[in-house]
Amino acid sequence: MTQDATPAIEVRSLVKNYGEVRAVDGLSFAIPAGSTTALLGGNGAGKSTTIGMVMGLVLPTSGEVRVLGTDMITRRHDVLHRMNFESPYVDMPHRLTVRQNLRVFALLYGVSDVAARIAALAADLDLKDFIDRPSGKLSAGQKTRVALAKALINEPEVMLLDEPTASLDPDTADWIRSHLERYRDRKGAAILLASHNMGEVERLCDRVIMLKKGRIEDDAAPAELIRRYGRSNLEEVFLDVARGRREAAE
């Protein structure tokens, strides 16, 4: 487990404008190794743009983003082999089998023993029954497990997850969450996720950053937020924040 004073992810005064629209407005936060943090907010709150900037796929208008101490605006290729991501908005080539896809990504990420790593992931994520099947012929649950295998192929120290259990049945979603928890605890990885599933956030995350109109509206552990707003669960807190009922917390 990495126990470094350097935060796994550090964001300072981050701003992103799309023309006249300010999508992200002065965000600052730091995420230590071995923790899971959620970005919560309604549509257009700035979650995806923030994650895009942490990945280095979106250039900030101003501010700083560092992952494992590396500037993601100018030196992202120095650290990309130590991080990975999963998102329902990307896919893996459908005609390639699961094994072929994982082999390609293992080579791209510089994995040393490719066959052994794929075998370990296949056992760990229960891919064996369909590992030689084309990726396009898998069910939604199987595809999510394969996407998770790709996200874990290089044993990343930082994982960025966008809706990691979207469109999954409760059993498969629970299975994925358990796996993520075990991986984080075993490797000391930092996980930053965006999700609309409040149950998932309550279970997985030690911290929630609530976004609204590109700004941090609140930032605390799930239990603390629930207590602060006098609610019984995180979904009610989310609604309070989204509908501007901030006084509930005061």
């Binding site: 743009t49 895009g52 290729h77 005609r95 390639l96 990504f105 791209l108």
Partner: protein
């Protein structure tokens, strides 16, 4: 981390898996060049028996066609491999991996050559066997012409890839059509002298114009014009440099506009 042959090889492996898993993709590499050759080759055979033969001396029409296919297929092979990533929504995975933009481009170049080899080998064999294409007459010039045309195709392919990164699939049609701007201008089937004066400066700015002029010089006079090769080479250096700068600028514009996250229309 610097340039990695391993990562370039990984991406090439991905394209080989794809082509091997899809017979229509394999067929597509061969069928259009062969169909084109048959059409123009039979026209040449007919013309040789009935009209002005000087136009078609030494199989000039078929030679022009084959060199045009190298230029066109060089660009299309590059662009299709890139488009496969957009169509399969895999671009985000690649851009978030340690693969560097220039490694990505290098892999697309390798696959462009591989696609050319698969597509043109049967076409060249047919052209030599049935349509008077004299590979020996072109000799070492053919290798130089091939290399120069492929590099021009890559330069155009790099710009198209940048435009697709920036503008999404709205720019896809450019991949299929942009090279046809070259068709009348770079004098594939007729000499530069045929063009009106005002159009000649545009033609002379295109590296392939010198290649096709050089081809006709070899076939009609038996001379490999090094001045033509030199001009095409110098222009190609400029073109590939300008294309690389344009690609980096378009990639940065795409990062600024957030279009790498959406990648749609």
């Amino acid at each position: 981390m610097s340039f990695s042959i391993r990562r370039v090889g990984a991406l090439c492996l991905r394209y080989c898996y794809l082509i091997a898993s899809s017979w229509p993709r394999l067929l597509e590499l061969v069928y259009w060049p062969v169909l084109n050759l048959l059409t123009w080759g039979f026209l040449q055979n007919y013309a040789m028996t009935s009209t002005n033969r000087t136009l078609f001396v030494g199989g000039a029409l078929v030679s022009g066609l084959l060199l045009w296919e190298i230029l066109f297929r060089g660009q299309i092979g590059f662009s299709i491999s890139f488009l496969e990533e957009v169509w399969s929504r895999n671009l985000g995975n690649l851009l978030m991996s340690p693969l560097r933009p220039f490694e990505f481009v290098a892999a697309l170049m390798v696959m462009s050559l591989a696609r050319l080899a698969v597509g043109l080998t049967p076409t060249v064999i047919l052209a030599v066997a049935y349509f008077g294409f004299d590979l020996a007459a072109l000799g070492v010039g053919f290798v130089a012409f091939f290399a120069l045309l492929v590099v021009t195709g890559w330069a155009v392919g790099i710009v198209v890839a940048g435009l697709i990164l920036r503008h999404g699939l709205g720019a896809e049609s450019l991949a299929w059509t942009i090279m046809f701007v070259f068709w009348p201008l770079c004098c594939v089937y007729y000499p530069l002298a045929v063009l009106p004066g005002w159009l000649k400066p545009f033609a002379l700015a295109l590296p392939p114009t010198y290649v096709f002029e050089g081809m006709r010089a070899v076939l009609s006079e038996g001379v490999l014009r090094l001045d033509y090769l030199g001009a095409a080479l110098a222009l190609n250096v400029l073109w590939i440099g300008a294309a690389s700068v344009a690609f980096v600028m378009l990639l940065n514009r795409a990062r600024d506009a957030g279009s790498l996250l959406s990648g749609g229309e």
